[in-house]
């Protein structure tokens, strides 16, 4: 059974202009997100995953711009619609939670006032009703004593609790899409699990499509239905989660999977420490310098992105060769 995706990103290219040069941190990115599904994007810092997220809501800084490509949300191209339209989409339809919940809240206002303000900007309801909604959604987070939490100030709560409050606020708006940019990176393990549970609930109860950006494969394994691996601005491999974990094809994906820490004490070989992305516009495999399997055919590779099996895309010439034409 295949649903129509609610968000499709086609051929997204982003450029950043610095006083010295113009660099292209996101190149040729394609993906689609369906309701009630989680698309995970994995990549290290600098791979372009955060910029991709920001571009979806047109939140890019002024020296960063989308060169070409399209972002379609329910027949609406978000890159071309008016500022008023994008404002309506933000929060109502597409919500976003960030890595550091501490700086997302105003420290001098209570959780309740954040909650009510957000609800009332998007829904035409009274303050009293908004307060009821706030309690209702906060109860769903399994946070102990939700009514007391509402009266507290952000600094009185821990990072994990704040992140859960953040998700509760997001939930109350029932967005069709949630962009979660490293939602658990700043949290410790127990809090991480709580936040993941809540995201899972959001997906199941409200049929929200979640774009989960992280560098942690454990988080991906828990939540994602489909995974896109980003490296050097490109999506190098994209597959359903089980397929990606069981039959990784791109060398980078394999390296990532091999270097997972676990509760066994086996020694993990570390890959070469040098990671420099080619910043200019030349078409070169981004992983070339670190790849242990690279040979002469890699240097003249045109970075073709090919579908192997159904839904399994890879961008590596070695794989293209070994599978044959």
């Amino acid at each position: 059974m295949r649903h129509q995706p609610i968000l499709t990103v086609n051929n997204l290219n982003i450029s950043v202009s610095t006083p010295l040069e113009v660099v292209h941190p996101v190149r040729d990115v394609n993906f689609a997100l369906q309701s009630g599904k989680v698309l995970g994007i994995v990549g290290e810092s600098g791979s372009g995953k955060t910029l991709t997220c920001m571009s979806l809501l047109r939140l890019l800084p002024e020296n960063v711009k989308v060169e070409f490509g399209s972002i379609n949300y329910r027949n609406q191209n978000l890159l071309e619609c008016s500022a008023e339209d994008i404002r309506k989409v933000r929060g109502n339809d597409i919500a976003m939670i960030m890595q550091n919940p501490m700086i997302a809240f105003n420290p001098v206002r209570t959780i309740e006032s954040h909650f009510i303000e957000t609800i009332r900007t998007h829904l035409p309801i009274t303050k009293r009703l908004a307060r009821k909604v706030a309690v209702e959604y906060l109860e769903k987070t399994d946070l102990p004593n939700p009514k007391a939490v509402l009266k507290q100030y952000p600094f009185q709560l821990s990072g994990g609790m704040l992140q859960r409050v953040m998700i509760a606020i997001t939930m109350s708006l029932k967005p069709s899409i949630l962009i979660a940019d490293e939602p658990t990176t700043a949290l410790d393990a127990t809090n991480q699990l709580q936040v993941l549970k809540q995201l899972d609930k959001l997906k199941k109860e409200y049929n929200t499509g979640i774009l989960l950006v992280t560098h942690d494969l454990g988080v991906i394994a828990q939540l994602a239905d489909e995974v896109a691996v980003m490296y050097g601005g490109y999506i190098v491999e994209k597959a359903p989660v089980l397929k990606l974990f069981n039959q990784p094809m791109h060398p980078y994906t394999r390296v990532l999977l091999e270097s997972r820490l676990g509760l066994t004490r086996k020694k993990i070989q570390s890959v070469s420490p040098l990671s420099t992305y080619s910043k200019n516009n030349d078409k070169k495999c981004p992983f070339l310098d670190r790849c242990e399997e690279a040979n002469h055919s890699c240097t003249s590779y045109n970075l073709e992105y090919r579908e192997y099996e159904k839904d399994h895309f890879v961008r590596c010439v070695k794989i293209h060769e070994s599978v044959g034409n």
Partner: protein, 269 residues
């Protein structure tokens, strides 16, 4: 003689809430005793707010404990005059979580790494450069990096620089306060492997403070679990990690995400 002995350390902080309320205090560390031998890596795990970072600061001499004593190399760290303390500091170094703010952005990498050398040894500039280059090589950076500034490096590389500065004086103990927590998965492995290798080479002892049981498990030889300022469990043999019995330890264990999809922790209530 043990390298580091903590005896009944206590530390509380005052909260200044408002003029009208009574001053309240929070006990960050309650009665902690520990010993650490030469060449051993002791992991300290706990949730955020369990007092593990405060303990690290007390051992470094940055915070004074309310009670108890910290004996490092047989001397009470908080009972020394500044000259003796400086002497002892040579053997006690730290690597922080936030690698970006741990190096002065206005100094070159070479100057940052040379800082501890300048404080303790009188070296000619040629000799100093030679030692810095050697340290850079040890941590896997290139010779030409010596004249670069911190903004030209990634997080993982900066953490290498911090490690280079920490081992410059060949210390006996390095406190690693969430030293790999902010790094990407691949870089984490690289840094952990580097730390393990340096430990062998220089017979270093580590105090590895982290909330990440997987990272602790990878590098530590023994482990204590902290919760609300207390040590709730000790483990001397890491092979028996699964046998941790305290509810807090169990909770930490069960929060570790399984490496493969299909085991849904999220669905357990």
């Amino acid at each position: 003689m043990s390298l580091l002995v903590l005896k009944n350390i206590k530390k509380s902080f005052f909260l200044k809430n408002s003029v009208f309320e009574k001053r309240r205090s929070i006990e960050a560390v309650k009665d902690i005793s520990l010993t650490l031998e030469q060449g051993v890596c002791l992991g300290i795990v706990g949730e955020s707010g369990s007092g593990k970072s405060t303990l690290g600061k007390i051992i470094l001499g940055l915070e004074k404990p309310d009670q108890g004593e910290v004996c490092f190399l047989g001397k009470n760290l908080h009972n020394l005059n500044s000259k003796e303390l400086k002497e002892l500091r040579q053997n006690l170094q730290v690597v922080f979580q936030d690698c970006y703010s741990a190096v002065n952005p206005r100094l070159t990498i070479g100057e940052s790494i040379a800082e501890p050398l300048r404080n303790y040894k009188r070296l000619s500039s040629a000799e100093e450069e030679k030692q810095v280059l050697e340290l850079l090589k040890k941590v896997g950076l290139r010779r030409e990096d010596i004249h670069k500034y911190p903004s030209q490096f990634s997080g993982g590389q900066l953490q290498r620089i911090n490690i280079a500065r920490a081992i410059a004086l060949k210390p006996k103990l390095i406190i690693l306060d969430e030293a790999v927590s902010a790094l990407d998965a691949l870089v984490q492995i690289q840094i952990l492997n580097l730390l393990a290798q340096l430990k062998e080479e220089f017979q270093l002892s580590y105090l590895f403070i982290s909330h990440d049981l997987q990272a602790v498990n990878y590098i530590a030889d023994c482990l204590v679990v902290m919760h609300q300022g207390e040590i709730v469990e000790r483990l001397d043999d890491m092979e028996q990690l699964e046998q941790l019995a305290n509810p807090v330890s169990k909770k930490l264990l069960s929060s570790v995400l399984p490496p493969f999809p299909g085991y849904m922790k999220c669905e357990e209530i």
